[in-house]
Each structure stands twice: as C-alpha cells, then as structure tokens.
Amino acid sequence: MSLFQTRWSGPLMVLVIAALLLTLIPAFAPAYVALQLTLYFSFGILGLSLAWVWGYGGIFSFGQAAFFGLGGYSYAVASINLSGSTVAILIGLAVPTAFAVLLGYFMFYGRLSGVYLAVITLVVTLAIHKFLGHTAGFEYRIGTAHLGGYNGMPALPPINVPGDVSKFLWPEDMYYATGIMLLAVYFGLRWLLTTAFGRRVIAVRENELRAELLGYDTRLYKLATFALGAFIAGLGGILFANWNSFIDPHVFELGFGAQIIIWVVVGGLGTLIGPILGAMLLGFAAVELGTQQTIDPNVILGAILLVFVLIVPQGVVPSVRTVMAWWKQVRANKRALAAAQVR
C-alpha cells in the first residue's frame, strides 16, 4: 500500500499498464495493429521531445521535425555505408544533437527568444526541406548512399543485434524495441525532472532573469535543453526510418512539423504523458482520415487546433486532472458534510 503513496506511484502505474499493453496487444490484435503501433511509438518519442523542449524548457521549437528527419537521414546514410547498424544508430543520434548545439549556440547566445525562436527553427527546417528536395541528382551521394531528392531513400537495411550483422530485427521485434524505447525516454525524462538539472531548466522557463541573477548561465541551460530535445527527436527519427525502411523529405514539411505541435497542444503542454497520447491518437486519426473521402483532412486538423487553443488551451491531460481534482474535492466535501450530520 505504501508503495502507491510515494511520488513514484503514478509513474509505476504507467509502467505496469504500458508493459501489459505492450505484451498483450500482439497476442490479441491483428499483426497490422502492431505494425502501426510501432509507427505511433516513434511519433510518441517525437512528441516527447517537444514536450520536453517546449513544455519544460519553455523553448518553442518548430525544429523538432528537422531533428527527427536529420536523425532518420543520417542513420539511413550511415547504415547503407556501414555493415551493421550499431554505429549507424550512434551517428543518427549524434548528427541532430550536434546540429542542435550549433543552431542553439546561434540562437541562445544571440539572446533570441519567443517568436524569433519559432521563426528561426521554422526557417531552418524549411531550408533543409528545400535542400534535400534538391538532391535527386546522382552527384548527391554520401559514400554509396544516394539522397534521392523528393523520392527519399528507400530499402534501408534493418537494425541488427549489436555485434552480429546477420541477426536483424523483424518488424515484430521492432515493435518491442520501439515500445521499450518510448518507455525509456518517458521515464528518463521523469527522472531528469527530479534532478537539480531538471529543476534549473524549469526555473529558467519560469523566470529567466531571476535564474540568471541567481548565478545560473541560462544560455547554457537552454542550449542543453534544446540539445537533449534534438537527441530524443533524433532517436524517434531513427526508429521511424526503420519502421518501413525508408525516409523522405516530407518529415521536414510544414505540415509534419505542425502535427507535432498539435500533439503537444492537444495532449497538454507541461505534461509528458499528454503529448505521447496526443501523438498516438492523432497520428492514428490522421491515417484513418485518409480512408474517408468526404472531408479534407486539413479541415479537421485545423478545426482541432483552433478548438483546443480557444476552448481547451491547457490540453486534455491537464484538463482531466483539473476535473478529477474538482471531483475529489466535491466528494470530500460531501463526506465531510455527511460526517457532520451524523455527529
């Protein structure tokens, strides 16, 4: 009983439920569902990256899609050139992180903030999109990997067990691997938020000037927050590229970047579980919208975003929490009232 009363009781419940779902779903659902879930897990990781950067770091970044895509692309290039995927994964994580450090240095040490960050990260994402769309020519090769322009890079080699190139992961293994990665990132961030570093990141979000006057180099903390976000997005991108062994420039499009922000807004800014749910449910909804041919999907996505910003600006998870707290209060009041009457 006491276990459930610690501050880890919430996360523990999440872990138990998630682990149960992860193992039970393939047994009862069609293979198709597990294949799809693999994709939504990678989206969940991407959603978490923005949940961290925006929700806890206060940095509104349009660029998570760019780091996601850079992760996918650099992994793709490396895995085609190298035998075995282990080093390729490390490269796929390192490239977006390094890029974020460079870009972040420009922005945070230039003291840019707010909408300027939004616009710069947006512009950088679109510039990468433009450039990669331009790489269909056969001269755009990195080693043996052809970047392929708008067609992207198909038929990537699958991830293999570290050290054994012949043992590679089947799509169903990828389901578990991606699901476990999602849980790892989620709990990793929860843990990080309890550390001194995590609290300082939040302090910078709450009041940058005060944090600075207390002696913290806020630029450095923002840079670290941003780089970690890029690292997580890059991980999502690697898993995404593996999901169907392809990556193409559409991940750098405005629409794809828009999705991520919608996930976070709908799920709830300032929570971790909200954006994951947002990513999975809305990712699923977007696919299903494609199978109906009556309403243009943009109408629905646009309407969702408008409704949430105007009516539920907190997002679903915080709103549910508010309602639950209110309900608890009502019940407690009733109980107190009843007790008073008995007396």
């Binding site: 840019l112 939004a118 510039a127 331009h134 943009n298 646009g302 105007l310």
Partner: protein, 288 residues
C-alpha cells in the same frame, strides 16, 4: 550588357514581390505584435479573388483593385472578431490559432476547388532588351509595389488615421485614455493588413497562379522579411526585401532557384544572429 540589364530588372522584381507579399503581415505584426500564420492563406485567397471573377467574365483590373482587397479584408475583420480578439497578449496562442485557421482555409479551399493549380494569363505583352525578351508585367509589379509603399507611408505619416495608428502602436493605454477605442483600431488594422495581403495575392496571381496550398510557399519568406526588417513597418519591409531579394536573385543566377531560396533562408538566420532586433533595430531607427 543585355543580360546585366535583364538581371537587374529581375532583382528589382524579386524585391518588389517580397515587399508586396510582406507588407500586410508587417502592418499586422508591427501594430499589434500578432503573428498571423494564416498570412499565406490570405495571399492565396487574393489569388482566387482574381481567378474566380475572371472565369465569370469580370474584368481582371476590377477584381484586382476592388474585389480582392475588399473580400480578403472582410475575411480579416471576421478572423479578428472571432479568433484573434480572444487571444491578445498570448502571442504563442495566437500563432497556434492562426495556424489552425490556415489549415482550415487550405482544407476548405481544397474541398471547393480541388487540388489543382489554376492560372490567370498575364496581362500586357513583353518587351525586349537586345535579343532577350521579358514580360512587361514585371514592370507593373515593380510599379505597384512602389506605389503601395508610398501610399502606406503617406497614410501613416500625414493622415489622422495614421496618427491614431501610430499612437496606438506606441502606447495603447494612452491612446485609449484619449478616447480612441483600441478594439476598433485593432479590428481595422487586421482588416487593412488582410486587405493589403489580398491585394498582393491578386497582383501576383498572373505570375504565381492559384492553388489551395500556395500560401505555404510564401509564408516563410514573408515572415523572415518582416522579422528581418524589425519594428518599423515600412523601412523594415523595404530594407529586408532589398537585402533578401538581392541574395535570392544573385545566387539563383549563378546556381539554381533552390539554392537561391536556401541562401535567402540562411541569410535571414545569419542576419537575425547579428541584428536580433532586425535591420531597423540598428539602422533607420527613426523610419516608419
């Protein structure tokens, strides 16, 4: 020599196009500090406001100078009343809401017109410099851009409306205390910004065509022009258009249009690193 002349015309044309597509956004951003991500869609609506009447046999100049600005201006007023109004002071939320609006407009227009690019043929003929021919419409665009900038300048500087606008911009509370309703000013500003954008879309329609997804290609360019320009509406837009137009067109001439655009975008990021307040944060500080 011919090539040099033509290239210079193309550079000036590019600068004019950037100024045209950005001025409406600059008005809204400069006056209200509102980031309107549906800006590209206002531009797109402007192109359709030329295309649809043209199909019904309406004279192209009537649609361009009257129908497009009025129609898109009214859309702007509606958007301000229904959406933007509720979100003043919440910059991020405005950005998200106008983005939702942008998706919604794209979706609605796709449902009505289908996902096709339609075109209005270019008025006027062409001219030649030496052996190289060019469209005369380019001069029209350059002329319109110049006239529009001049008009905005005159209105801001010499009319009562301009005075009220500048007053509200500098200190909304003081303007309010002096009996000017900021709410009305904001609605009017948003409407005028939208009308300017609709007009720009209409003028550009013969060059860029009309398609529901057209706005996306221009919104980023308009944004960096406005933000690169900084606080001052007019000098900011003009100077940033100048810088970015030259970068774009020169790189395009020596390589490809894509690298031209990439250079423009990278140039914008570098510029903001050096001048975080935009060009007018450092130079022309007394400009409008």
């Amino acid at each position: 020599m011919d090539v040099a002349a033509i290239t210079i015309i193309q550079i000036i044309n590019m600068i004019s196009m950037l100024a045209l597509m950005s001025i409406g956004l600059a008005v809204i951003f400069g006056m209200m500090r509102v980031i309107n991500l549906a800006h590209g869609e206002f531009l797109m609506l402007g192109t359709y406001a030329v295309l649809v009447p043209a199909k019904l046999g309406v004279n192209i100049w009537i649609s361009m100078f009257i129908i497009a600005p009025i129609f898109v201006g009214l859309v702007g007023v509606l958007v301000e009343r229904i959406i933007v109004r509720r979100l003043y002071g919440r910059m991020m939320d405005t950005l998200l809401a106008t983005w939702g609006l942008s998706l919604l407009i794209i979706g609605i227009m796709t449902t009505i017109f289908g996902n096709t690019m339609e075109g209005v043929s270019t008025p006027f003929g062409n001219f030649s410099i030496g052996e190289i021919a060019e469209s005369q419409y380019k001069f029209f665009i350059i002329g319109i851009a110049a006239a529009l900038m001049a008009a905005v300048f005159v209105v801001l500087k010499y009319t009562k409306l301009g005075l009220i606008a500048r007053g509200t911009m500098q200190n909304a509370n003081m303007a309010s205390a002096l009996g000017i309703s900021p709410s009305t000013v904001y609605t009017a500003t948003f409407g005028i910004g939208a009308a300017l954008t609709g007009f720009a879309g209409a003028v550009l329609a013969p060059v860029i065509g009309a398609a529901p997804t057209l706005g996306v290609a221009y919104v980023a360019k308009a944004f960096i022009t406005v933000i690169g320009g900084g606080q001052a509406i007019l000098t900011g837009t003009a100077s940033a258009s100048g810088v970015f137009g030259v970068i774009n067109q020169v790189v395009t001439y020596f390589s490809t249009p894509v690298l031209g655009e990439v250079a423009l975008l990278i140039g914008a990021v570098l510029l903001l690193r050096v001048l975080p307040q935009g060009i007018t944060g450092r130079f022309f500080r007394r400009g409008l």
